[in-house]
């Protein structure tokens, strides 16, 4: 699902990066894209530490005031999800949980970004042996996906 949306997100980021009228949000989106690219490159050479550093640096950087709140949320949630996954793959369940919660603290929407973070939170909790809490996170993610499926069919019916 996320893979399917990624080109669209990247296209949007590219559109913003090419827009000169309002440099601050465009620059910030460009930084997000660059951070993901640096992480990709680091992972290709199996340097997970560098990948995490690139993403963490972006996440810690201040969001320009002119970036819309919802736009900032989904971009930062996407980065937090990736950081949580990298931490879990490194066997760092506490860090994985922290990144999942950092992402969720940005706000919750009925979208794949929030659902992904809830799954990441569930996996981190399971790794910590907190299975019941993990099940609650999985269930929240499941309900979002169910709502998205409903929306998909409702949209089709409306057409």
């Amino acid at each position: 699902m996320l893979r399917r949306l990624l080109p669209i997100v990247l296209l949007s980021l590219a559109a913003l990066a090419g827009c000169a009228e309002d440099a601050a949000p465009a620059d910030w989106m460009g930084e997000a894209r660059a951070a993901h690219a640096r992480a990709d490159e680091a992972l290709e050479r199996e340097d997970r530490g560098a990948a995490r550093e690139a993403l963490e640096a972006f996440f810690e950087a201040e969001v320009p005031g002119r970036v819309a709140k919802e736009d900032a949320r989904v971009v930062r949630q996407d980065v937090a999800f990736r950081l949580s996954r990298l931490a879990l793959e490194a066997g760092e369940a506490d860090a994985a949980l922290r990144w999942a919660d950092e992402g969720l603290n940005e706000g919750r929407g009925r979208d794949v970004f929030t659902a992904n973070l809830l799954v990441a939170r569930g996996r981190a909790l399971e790794a910590k042996g907190e299975a019941v809490e993990a099940a609650a996170a999985y269930h929240d993610a499941l309900r979002i996906n169910d709502a998205l499926l409903d929306a998909l069919f409702e949209e089709d019916d409306a057409e």
Binding site: S12, E21, V67, D71, H139, A151, E159
Partner: protein, 156 residues
């Protein structure tokens, strides 16, 4: 057709808020109001639909409104009949394409799989723990998984 439209919808939902945030000269508050509305269109919210309907009504050309006066031709001059026929034919083709459109089944199957995978994970936890709330989540997840399977099977 539908895949393209769905892609456009998602592009609008994700792309336009981001693009407006960056390219528009608008204040942040305007960008914020645009983003949730666009997101609603992806998640099935009603905000975008109602706005669109209102805008559509407002935007209707005066010449198209019911009137007791005789409507004047929109196309005049030599060959107008053929152009009008071509326009009607194109509109009919478009309408037929929309009628035969189907839901984006790749996305639907992804969502169904995600729902059922999560349901399976929850139930695996429920099997290992005596927690009643987890058992309840397992039952709910299984019901949603079955429903998702039925809905996707029916439509895809």
């Amino acid at each position: 057709m539908t895949t393209l439209r769905r892609t456009m919808t998602i592009s609008l939902a994700l792309g336009l808020p981001l693009a407006f945030a960056g390219c528009g000269g608008s204040a942040p508050a305007e960008s914020r109001s645009a983003a949730p509305a666009a997101q609603d269109s992806v998640t099935g919210g009603e905000a975008t639909t109602s706005v669109t309907a209102e805008e559509s009504a407002d935007a209707q050309p005066a010449g198209m409104a019911p009137s007791s006066s005789e409507p004047s031709p929109m196309i005049s001059g030599s060959g107008a009949g053929e152009e009008w026929d071509a326009l009607l034919a194109a509109e009919a083709d478009l309408g037929e394409a929309f009628e035969t459109a189907t839901v984006d089944c790749d996305v639907a199957r992804d969502l169904r799989d995600q729902i059922c995978d999560l349901s399976g994970r929850i139930c695996a936890i429920a099997d290992e723990t005596p927690d009643p709330s987890t058992a309840e989540r397992c039952r709910d997840g299984e019901a949603r998984c079955d429903s998702a399977r039925d809905r996707v099977d029916d439509r895809c």
